[in-house]
Protein backbone atom coordinates (compact mmCIF):
# COMPACT_ATOMS: atom_id res chain seq x y z
CA UNK A 1 0.00 0.00 0.00
CA UNK A 2 1.46 3.34 -1.02
CA UNK A 3 0.42 6.79 0.04
CA UNK A 4 0.38 9.84 -2.15
CA UNK A 5 1.34 11.92 0.86
CA UNK A 6 4.92 12.05 2.00
CA UNK A 7 4.04 10.63 5.35
CA UNK A 8 6.66 8.88 7.40
CA UNK A 9 5.97 5.54 8.97
CA UNK A 10 6.66 6.95 12.42
CA UNK A 11 2.94 7.55 12.67
CA UNK A 12 1.46 5.54 15.56
CA UNK A 13 -0.49 2.54 14.35
CA UNK A 14 -3.72 3.35 16.11
CA UNK A 15 -4.10 6.93 14.95
CA UNK A 16 -6.67 7.42 12.20
CA UNK A 17 -4.13 8.47 9.60
CA UNK A 18 -5.61 10.82 6.98
CA UNK A 19 -4.22 8.82 4.10
CA UNK A 20 -5.86 9.22 0.72
CA UNK A 21 -6.56 5.56 0.41
CA UNK A 22 -5.66 4.21 -3.02
CA UNK A 23 -7.32 0.91 -2.20
CA UNK A 24 -10.79 1.11 -3.68
CA UNK A 25 -9.67 0.34 -7.19
CA UNK A 26 -11.99 -2.62 -7.47
CA UNK A 27 -15.38 -2.31 -9.11
CA UNK A 28 -16.89 -1.30 -5.77
CA UNK A 29 -18.92 1.88 -6.36
CA UNK A 30 -18.29 3.25 -2.89
CA UNK A 31 -14.68 3.94 -2.07
CA UNK A 32 -13.29 2.46 1.08
CA UNK A 33 -13.08 4.80 4.06
CA UNK A 34 -9.73 6.34 4.84
CA UNK A 35 -8.24 4.10 7.44
CA UNK A 36 -5.00 2.21 7.82
CA UNK A 37 -5.78 -1.02 6.03
CA UNK A 38 -8.61 -3.07 4.66
CA UNK A 39 -9.89 -5.52 7.25
CA UNK A 40 -9.00 -9.13 6.52
CA UNK A 41 -11.64 -11.81 6.06
CA UNK A 42 -10.97 -13.06 9.58
CA UNK A 43 -11.41 -9.58 11.04
CA UNK A 44 -14.70 -9.17 9.17
CA UNK A 45 -15.98 -12.50 10.49
CA UNK A 46 -15.06 -11.71 14.09
CA UNK A 47 -16.54 -8.20 13.94
CA UNK A 48 -19.91 -9.45 12.71
CA UNK A 49 -19.95 -12.41 15.09
CA UNK A 50 -19.40 -9.95 17.94
CA UNK A 51 -22.16 -7.68 16.68
CA UNK A 52 -24.50 -10.63 16.48
CA UNK A 53 -23.75 -12.05 19.91
CA UNK A 54 -23.99 -8.66 21.62
CA UNK A 55 -27.31 -7.82 20.07
CA UNK A 56 -30.37 -8.70 22.10
CA UNK A 57 -33.62 -7.41 20.69
CA UNK A 58 -32.14 -5.85 17.60
CA UNK A 59 -28.61 -5.45 16.38
CA UNK A 60 -28.61 -1.93 14.95
CA UNK A 61 -27.02 -0.16 17.93
CA UNK A 62 -24.26 -2.74 18.14
CA UNK A 63 -23.44 -2.68 14.46
CA UNK A 64 -23.01 1.09 14.65
CA UNK A 65 -20.82 0.89 17.72
CA UNK A 66 -18.59 -1.74 16.11
CA UNK A 67 -18.33 -0.27 12.60
CA UNK A 68 -18.07 3.42 13.45
CA UNK A 69 -16.65 3.70 16.94
CA UNK A 70 -14.64 0.58 17.69
CA UNK A 71 -13.17 -0.50 14.33
CA UNK A 72 -13.66 2.78 12.44
CA UNK A 73 -14.32 0.91 9.22
CA UNK A 74 -17.10 3.35 8.33
CA UNK A 75 -17.60 7.05 8.98
CA UNK A 76 -20.88 8.05 10.67
CA UNK A 77 -22.22 9.32 7.32
CA UNK A 78 -21.23 6.16 5.51
CA UNK A 79 -22.94 4.12 8.20
CA UNK A 80 -26.20 6.09 7.93
CA UNK A 81 -26.19 5.93 4.15
CA UNK A 82 -25.48 2.20 4.07
CA UNK A 83 -28.07 1.49 6.71
CA UNK A 84 -30.74 3.55 4.96
CA UNK A 85 -30.20 1.52 1.80
CA UNK A 86 -30.34 -1.75 3.71
CA UNK A 87 -33.59 -0.92 5.46
CA UNK A 88 -35.28 -0.42 2.09
CA UNK A 89 -34.06 -3.68 0.67
CA UNK A 90 -36.18 -6.76 1.40
CA UNK A 91 -34.96 -9.11 4.11
CA UNK A 92 -33.32 -8.53 7.47
CA UNK A 93 -31.75 -5.07 7.71
CA UNK A 94 -28.63 -6.17 9.56
CA UNK A 95 -28.25 -9.14 7.27
CA UNK A 96 -28.27 -6.86 4.25
CA UNK A 97 -25.88 -4.56 6.07
CA UNK A 98 -23.39 -7.39 6.61
CA UNK A 99 -23.52 -8.33 2.93
CA UNK A 100 -23.03 -4.74 1.76
CA UNK A 101 -20.18 -3.95 4.16
CA UNK A 102 -18.44 -7.28 3.51
CA UNK A 103 -18.64 -6.69 -0.22
CA UNK A 104 -17.25 -3.18 0.10
CA UNK A 105 -14.08 -4.44 1.76
CA UNK A 106 -13.47 -7.84 0.24
CA UNK A 107 -15.93 -8.44 -2.59
CA UNK A 108 -18.19 -11.50 -2.73
CA UNK A 109 -15.99 -13.43 -0.32
CA UNK A 110 -16.21 -10.58 2.17
CA UNK A 111 -20.00 -10.67 1.92
CA UNK A 112 -20.03 -14.38 2.54
CA UNK A 113 -17.74 -14.14 5.56
CA UNK A 114 -19.64 -11.21 7.10
CA UNK A 115 -22.91 -13.07 6.59
CA UNK A 116 -21.47 -16.22 8.17
CA UNK A 117 -20.20 -14.23 11.13
CA UNK A 118 -23.58 -12.63 11.67
CA UNK A 119 -25.74 -15.74 11.25
CA UNK A 120 -23.49 -18.64 12.27
CA UNK A 121 -23.27 -18.12 16.04
CA UNK A 122 -26.97 -17.32 16.63
CA UNK A 123 -28.09 -20.23 14.44
CA UNK A 124 -25.95 -22.60 16.52
CA UNK A 125 -27.29 -21.11 19.74
CA UNK A 126 -30.90 -21.19 18.67
CA UNK A 127 -30.57 -24.83 17.59
CA UNK A 128 -29.39 -25.74 21.08
CA UNK A 129 -32.27 -23.73 22.55
CA UNK A 130 -34.69 -25.43 20.16
CA UNK A 131 -33.46 -28.87 21.18
CA UNK A 132 -33.87 -28.01 24.85
CA UNK A 133 -37.36 -26.68 24.19
CA UNK A 134 -38.28 -29.85 22.29
CA UNK A 135 -37.50 -31.86 25.44
CA UNK A 136 -38.70 -29.56 28.20
CA UNK A 137 -41.19 -27.34 26.40
CA UNK A 138 -44.10 -28.92 28.22
CA UNK A 139 -42.85 -28.06 31.70
CA UNK A 140 -45.43 -25.70 33.18
CA UNK A 141 -42.76 -23.49 34.78
CA UNK A 142 -40.96 -22.97 31.48
CA UNK A 143 -44.21 -22.28 29.66
CA UNK A 144 -45.18 -19.65 32.22
CA UNK A 145 -41.80 -17.94 31.95
CA UNK A 146 -41.93 -17.93 28.16
CA UNK A 147 -45.46 -16.54 28.33
CA UNK A 148 -44.12 -13.65 30.37
CA UNK A 149 -41.23 -13.08 27.95
CA UNK A 150 -43.55 -13.08 24.93
CA UNK A 151 -45.78 -10.53 26.63
CA UNK A 152 -42.79 -8.30 27.42
CA UNK A 153 -41.42 -8.66 23.87
CA UNK A 154 -44.77 -7.52 22.51
CA UNK A 155 -44.53 -4.52 24.85
CA UNK A 156 -41.02 -3.65 23.60
CA UNK A 157 -42.29 -3.72 20.02
CA UNK A 158 -45.15 -1.41 20.93
CA UNK A 159 -42.70 1.04 22.51
CA UNK A 160 -40.61 1.01 19.32
CA UNK A 161 -43.71 1.68 17.23
CA UNK A 162 -44.73 4.55 19.50
CA UNK A 163 -41.29 6.14 19.29
CA UNK A 164 -41.08 5.79 15.52
CA UNK A 165 -44.64 7.02 15.03
CA UNK A 166 -44.11 10.43 16.61
CA UNK A 167 -42.71 12.17 13.50
CA UNK A 168 -45.60 10.69 11.54
CA UNK A 169 -48.09 12.96 13.29
CA UNK A 170 -46.19 16.18 12.66
CA UNK A 171 -47.92 18.85 10.60
CA UNK A 172 -51.30 17.23 11.13
CA UNK A 173 -50.39 14.64 8.52
CA UNK A 174 -53.21 12.22 7.75
CA UNK A 175 -51.86 9.87 5.10
CA UNK A 176 -49.05 8.28 7.15
CA UNK A 177 -51.13 7.38 10.21
CA UNK A 178 -53.98 6.09 8.04
CA UNK A 179 -51.60 3.85 6.06
CA UNK A 180 -50.10 2.54 9.30
CA UNK A 181 -53.55 1.83 10.77
CA UNK A 182 -54.83 0.10 7.64
CA UNK A 183 -51.69 -2.07 7.52
CA UNK A 184 -52.08 -2.92 11.19
CA UNK A 185 -55.75 -3.85 10.80
CA UNK A 186 -55.23 -5.97 7.69
CA UNK A 187 -52.31 -7.96 9.13
CA UNK A 188 -52.77 -7.82 12.90
CA UNK A 189 -56.57 -8.06 13.22
CA UNK A 190 -57.86 -9.58 9.98
CA UNK A 191 -54.81 -11.86 9.52
CA UNK A 192 -54.69 -11.35 5.78
CA UNK A 193 -51.70 -12.73 3.81
CA UNK A 194 -48.72 -10.37 3.86
CA UNK A 195 -47.80 -10.46 0.14
CA UNK A 196 -51.32 -9.55 -0.96
CA UNK A 197 -51.56 -6.70 1.53
CA UNK A 198 -48.12 -5.30 0.71
CA UNK A 199 -48.63 -5.49 -3.04
CA UNK A 200 -51.58 -3.12 -2.61
CA UNK A 201 -50.50 -0.90 0.25
CA UNK A 202 -46.87 -0.21 -0.72
CA UNK A 203 -47.51 1.17 -4.23
CA UNK A 204 -50.43 3.14 -2.83
CA UNK A 205 -48.39 4.59 0.03
CA UNK A 206 -45.44 5.51 -2.19
CA UNK A 207 -47.76 7.09 -4.74
CA UNK A 208 -49.39 9.17 -2.01
CA UNK A 209 -45.99 10.22 -0.71
CA UNK A 210 -44.95 11.20 -4.23
CA UNK A 211 -48.13 13.16 -4.98
CA UNK A 212 -48.30 14.98 -1.68
CA UNK A 213 -45.02 16.40 -0.41
CA UNK A 214 -44.95 16.95 3.38
CA UNK A 215 -47.09 20.01 4.12
CA UNK A 216 -44.66 21.67 6.48
CA UNK A 217 -41.55 21.10 4.36
CA UNK A 218 -39.50 24.24 4.01
Amino acid sequence: MTSSEPMTSSEPMNSPAPIQSPIGTETSPVTAPPHQAQPTLGEIFIAFAKISLSGFGGVLAWSRRMMVEERQWLTPDEFNETYALCSFLPGGNVLNFSVVVGSRFRGPLGSLVAFAGLMGPPVLLVLIIGAIYAHYGDLPALRRMLGGVAAAAAGLMLATVAKMARPLFHNRAVVGPVVALVTFAAIGLLHWPLPAVLLVIIPLSIALAWLRPPSGAA
Binding site: E81, F88, I129, A150, A152, L156, G188
Partner: protein, 178 residues
Protein backbone atom coordinates in the same frame (compact mmCIF):
# COMPACT_ATOMS: atom_id res chain seq x y z
CA UNK B 1 -41.69 -40.80 5.67
CA UNK B 2 -38.84 -39.74 3.40
CA UNK B 3 -41.28 -38.33 0.91
CA UNK B 4 -43.03 -36.46 3.67
CA UNK B 5 -39.80 -34.89 4.82
CA UNK B 6 -38.90 -33.93 1.26
CA UNK B 7 -42.27 -32.31 0.69
CA UNK B 8 -42.10 -30.47 3.99
CA UNK B 9 -38.62 -29.16 3.23
CA UNK B 10 -39.74 -27.99 -0.21
CA UNK B 11 -42.72 -26.22 1.33
CA UNK B 12 -40.49 -24.56 3.91
CA UNK B 13 -37.95 -23.48 1.29
CA UNK B 14 -40.50 -22.10 -1.14
CA UNK B 15 -42.56 -20.33 1.47
CA UNK B 16 -39.73 -18.64 3.35
CA UNK B 17 -37.88 -17.63 0.19
CA UNK B 18 -41.04 -15.89 -0.96
CA UNK B 19 -41.70 -14.42 2.47
CA UNK B 20 -38.20 -12.95 2.71
CA UNK B 21 -38.94 -10.75 -0.32
CA UNK B 22 -41.87 -9.23 1.58
CA UNK B 23 -40.05 -8.78 4.87
CA UNK B 24 -39.50 -5.05 4.88
CA UNK B 25 -38.31 -3.20 7.95
CA UNK B 26 -36.67 -6.14 9.67
CA UNK B 27 -37.49 -9.69 10.70
CA UNK B 28 -40.23 -8.80 13.17
CA UNK B 29 -42.49 -7.28 10.53
CA UNK B 30 -43.03 -10.71 8.96
CA UNK B 31 -44.03 -12.40 12.23
CA UNK B 32 -47.82 -12.15 11.66
CA UNK B 33 -47.45 -13.74 8.24
CA UNK B 34 -45.33 -16.58 9.69
CA UNK B 35 -48.00 -17.05 12.32
CA UNK B 36 -50.78 -17.14 9.73
CA UNK B 37 -48.99 -19.76 7.65
CA UNK B 38 -47.43 -21.94 10.36
CA UNK B 39 -50.34 -21.94 12.81
CA UNK B 40 -53.51 -21.25 10.81
CA UNK B 41 -52.73 -22.78 7.41
CA UNK B 42 -50.22 -25.62 8.00
CA UNK B 43 -50.93 -26.36 11.68
CA UNK B 44 -47.21 -26.90 12.22
CA UNK B 45 -47.38 -25.17 15.60
CA UNK B 46 -50.08 -24.45 18.13
CA UNK B 47 -50.78 -20.89 19.23
CA UNK B 48 -48.92 -21.52 22.43
CA UNK B 49 -45.91 -23.03 20.66
CA UNK B 50 -45.72 -20.06 18.34
CA UNK B 51 -45.71 -17.68 21.28
CA UNK B 52 -42.99 -19.76 22.94
CA UNK B 53 -40.95 -19.83 19.72
CA UNK B 54 -41.15 -16.08 19.45
CA UNK B 55 -40.06 -15.68 23.07
CA UNK B 56 -37.09 -18.04 22.55
CA UNK B 57 -36.01 -16.14 19.45
CA UNK B 58 -36.12 -12.90 21.42
CA UNK B 59 -33.94 -14.47 24.10
CA UNK B 60 -31.33 -15.42 21.50
CA UNK B 61 -28.81 -12.75 20.55
CA UNK B 62 -28.55 -11.87 16.87
CA UNK B 63 -30.87 -10.75 14.11
CA UNK B 64 -34.60 -11.00 14.88
CA UNK B 65 -35.28 -13.22 11.90
CA UNK B 66 -33.54 -16.07 13.73
CA UNK B 67 -37.12 -17.05 14.61
CA UNK B 68 -37.36 -18.77 11.21
CA UNK B 69 -34.56 -21.16 12.23
CA UNK B 70 -36.59 -22.21 15.27
CA UNK B 71 -39.76 -22.65 13.24
CA UNK B 72 -37.87 -24.79 10.72
CA UNK B 73 -36.37 -26.84 13.54
CA UNK B 74 -39.76 -27.37 15.10
CA UNK B 75 -41.27 -28.49 11.80
CA UNK B 76 -38.52 -30.72 10.38
CA UNK B 77 -35.58 -30.95 12.78
CA UNK B 78 -32.06 -29.94 11.77
CA UNK B 79 -32.67 -30.15 7.98
CA UNK B 80 -35.74 -27.99 8.45
CA UNK B 81 -33.79 -25.41 10.43
CA UNK B 82 -31.03 -25.17 7.81
CA UNK B 83 -33.35 -25.11 4.80
CA UNK B 84 -35.59 -22.47 6.37
CA UNK B 85 -32.67 -20.25 7.36
CA UNK B 86 -31.08 -20.50 3.92
CA UNK B 87 -34.39 -19.75 2.21
CA UNK B 88 -35.06 -16.72 4.40
CA UNK B 89 -31.54 -15.28 4.04
CA UNK B 90 -30.19 -16.42 0.68
CA UNK B 91 -32.29 -14.63 -1.94
CA UNK B 92 -32.33 -11.28 -0.14
CA UNK B 93 -28.60 -11.47 0.57
CA UNK B 94 -27.88 -11.93 -3.14
CA UNK B 95 -30.27 -9.09 -3.91
CA UNK B 96 -28.55 -6.82 -1.38
CA UNK B 97 -25.16 -7.67 -2.85
CA UNK B 98 -26.11 -6.44 -6.32
CA UNK B 99 -28.27 -3.56 -5.11
CA UNK B 100 -25.35 -2.16 -3.13
CA UNK B 101 -23.20 -2.11 -6.24
CA UNK B 102 -25.90 -0.48 -8.31
CA UNK B 103 -26.95 2.24 -5.89
CA UNK B 104 -24.40 4.97 -5.54
CA UNK B 105 -25.25 7.77 -3.13
CA UNK B 106 -28.75 6.50 -2.73
CA UNK B 107 -29.51 8.74 0.21
CA UNK B 108 -29.05 11.91 -1.79
CA UNK B 109 -31.54 11.01 -4.47
CA UNK B 110 -35.08 12.39 -4.41
CA UNK B 111 -36.40 8.84 -4.37
CA UNK B 112 -34.97 8.27 -0.94
CA UNK B 113 -37.36 10.76 0.67
CA UNK B 114 -40.38 9.48 -1.23
CA UNK B 115 -39.61 5.83 -0.52
CA UNK B 116 -38.99 6.67 3.10
CA UNK B 117 -42.28 8.50 3.56
CA UNK B 118 -44.10 5.73 1.75
CA UNK B 119 -42.54 2.76 3.51
CA UNK B 120 -42.13 3.93 7.10
CA UNK B 121 -45.88 3.97 7.90
CA UNK B 122 -46.25 0.47 6.41
CA UNK B 123 -43.38 -0.81 8.55
CA UNK B 124 -44.94 0.75 11.64
CA UNK B 125 -48.27 -0.91 10.94
CA UNK B 126 -46.52 -4.25 10.45
CA UNK B 127 -44.58 -4.00 13.71
CA UNK B 128 -47.72 -3.08 15.63
CA UNK B 129 -49.44 -6.06 14.01
CA UNK B 130 -46.57 -8.30 15.17
CA UNK B 131 -47.05 -7.11 18.72
CA UNK B 132 -50.77 -7.86 18.49
CA UNK B 133 -50.26 -11.34 17.03
CA UNK B 134 -47.59 -12.29 19.57
CA UNK B 135 -49.63 -10.90 22.43
CA UNK B 136 -52.72 -12.90 21.50
CA UNK B 137 -50.78 -16.09 20.70
CA UNK B 138 -49.69 -16.91 24.23
CA UNK B 139 -52.98 -17.56 25.91
CA UNK B 140 -53.75 -14.04 26.83
CA UNK B 141 -55.12 -12.93 30.15
CA UNK B 142 -55.25 -9.55 31.83
CA UNK B 143 -51.95 -10.02 33.68
CA UNK B 144 -50.09 -10.78 30.45
CA UNK B 145 -51.76 -7.70 29.02
CA UNK B 146 -50.51 -5.72 32.01
CA UNK B 147 -46.95 -6.99 31.38
CA UNK B 148 -47.21 -5.95 27.73
CA UNK B 149 -48.53 -2.49 28.49
CA UNK B 150 -46.21 -2.00 31.45
CA UNK B 151 -43.17 -2.93 29.36
CA UNK B 152 -44.34 -0.69 26.53
CA UNK B 153 -44.80 2.31 28.84
CA UNK B 154 -41.47 1.76 30.61
CA UNK B 155 -39.51 1.29 27.39
CA UNK B 156 -41.15 4.33 25.85
CA UNK B 157 -40.00 6.69 28.60
CA UNK B 158 -36.66 5.21 29.71
CA UNK B 159 -33.98 3.11 28.07
CA UNK B 160 -34.50 -0.49 29.14
CA UNK B 161 -32.15 -3.36 28.34
CA UNK B 162 -34.33 -6.01 26.68
CA UNK B 163 -32.84 -8.76 28.87
CA UNK B 164 -33.86 -6.90 32.02
CA UNK B 165 -37.42 -6.57 30.76
CA UNK B 166 -37.46 -10.26 29.81
CA UNK B 167 -36.08 -11.34 33.20
CA UNK B 168 -38.71 -9.38 35.13
CA UNK B 169 -41.47 -10.71 32.87
CA UNK B 170 -40.18 -14.29 33.15
CA UNK B 171 -40.23 -14.06 36.95
CA UNK B 172 -43.74 -12.64 36.89
CA UNK B 173 -44.71 -15.52 34.63
CA UNK B 174 -42.97 -18.09 36.83
CA UNK B 175 -44.90 -16.74 39.76
CA UNK B 176 -47.94 -18.25 38.09
CA UNK B 177 -49.34 -14.96 37.01
CA UNK B 178 -49.46 -15.46 33.25
Amino acid sequence: MKDDLGTTLLTLAGYFALLSLFAIGGGNSAVPEMHRFAVDVQHWLTEREFGDTFALAQLTPGPNLIIVTLIGYHVAGLPGALVTTAAMCGPTAVFAFFAARASDHFRESAWYAILSRGLVPVTLGLTAASAAVVATSSGYNWIALAITLGTAMTAFFVRVHPLLAFAVAALLGLGGLV
